[in-house]
């Protein structure tokens, strides 16, 4: 982008800064989870405040004893939001495939988030099993966005077998610690030919901005919003933070200096 453009044209440019996943175009780069909220109404309000276009959802058994308990889709309309079914809680490829086949039948979507966990303490992915599950799902016609470690070598493998988005963790799920290893995230972004989204570990607005400044295509978060004292306001904060980080990345930051450099000219002093 040339630096001559006026602010107005600029806004144009930015409003045109969209990204694509599995053939769909999105202008929001913030994907939010739908867990841990006080209730579905708060969840829906947060989705509005976040300006989200995609929400992750889990697949679970219906409650037979109370079939009329509130349902997610009565609050968050699948026609307005892209539902991204995840496999949270799955520890094997088979569980993941089975879960997502049910999701596909329930919702009719083939865009899914794969998540095969390695253990319950870290909720880190089991990467070899994730790789295997991704292959099964892709063979079965799914579009797989994959939760993974920040290991660039494994990220490359996942792209090679056909995953449509790479989603390395910033820090342990629900930890709120922010990007722990910016070098690995940067390496993953540099080598990727598909969208890279930071998934899990963001704790506050600056964490999301930092992830985007590294060049991520988007950020996925849940706890940072749902567990804020004021989830709705934090959702809005995250919307701004993701835009801020994205624009800063596109704008190209100033170089860092070890010493000072005056902002006011020294000439013409009285």
């Amino acid at each position: 982008m040339g630096v001559e453009v006026s602010a107005v044209e600029q806004d144009e440019n930015v409003s045109h800064d969209s990204w694509e996943i599995a053939g769909r175009k999105f202008s929001s780069r913030l994907i939010i989870g739908t867990g841990k909220y006080k209730d579905y109404q708060q969840n829906a309000d947060a989705a509005v405040a976040a300006g989200a276009e995609i929400v992750t959802v889990a697949v679970r058994r219906v409650n037979l004893s109370d079939p009329n308990s509130p349902m997610l889709i009565d609050y968050i309309d699948p026609k307005k939001y892209v539902f991204l079914p995840n496999t949270a809680g799955c520890f094997t490829g088979e569980d993941a495939v089975r879960t997502l086949r049910l999701a596909r039948e329930a919702g009719g979507w083939d865009l899914v988030k794969l998540e095969v966990l390695g253990d319950e303490k870290t909720l880190y992915p089991n990467m070899p099993e994730t790789l295997r599950a991704a292959e099964l799902l892709i063979k079965d016609g799914f579009q797989v966005m994959v939760y993974c470690s920040d290991d660039p070598i494994m990220a490359k493998r996942l792209e090679e077998i056909g995953c449509c988005a790479i989603m390395p963790l910033a820090a342990p799920i629900g930890s709120g610690l922010g990007v722990q290893n910016p070098i690995n995230i940067r390496l993953i972004i540099e080598q990727a030919n598909v969208p890279v989204l930071v998934d899990a570990g963001v704790g506050t607005a600056s964490d999301a901005a930092i992830a985007m400044e590294l060049g991520c295509d988007g950020v996925l978060m849940n706890t940072a919003i749902a567990e804020a004292k004021n989830p709705i306001l934090m959702a809005e904060a995250m919307r701004h933070a993701v835009i801020a980080g994205r624009q800063a990345y596109l704008a190209g930051r100033m170089p860092k200096r070890l010493y000072a450099d005056p902002s006011s000219p020294l000439a013409g002093l009285i």
């Binding site: 969840n43 349902m71 997610l72 539902f83 049910l102």
Partner: protein, 68 residues
């Protein structure tokens, strides 16, 4: 004639024969909001009226809930 099936891990006695559609109706579950697996095989929504539940069937009925 009554049959026993397992739904979401719990045993249930039902008056058969009945279709998947009839079962969902019986359970008061909106067919368009759930997905159903019968003996590890997904039953497409379009087959709900024709697929009949049989004794010993193991069924999973799921829907979307909040999740990260």
């Amino acid at each position: 004639m009554s049959i026993t099936v397992e739904i979401n891990g719990e045993a249930r006695r039902l008056e058969g024969p009945l279709s998947v559609a009839a079962l969902l109706h019986l359970l008061d579950l909106p067919r368009e909001k759930v997905a159903l697996e019968r003996n590890r095989e997904i039953v497409p929504r379009s087959f709900y009226d024709t697929v009949m539940i049989e004794g010993g069937d193991r069924l999973e009925i799921v829907h979307f809930i909040g999740g990260g």
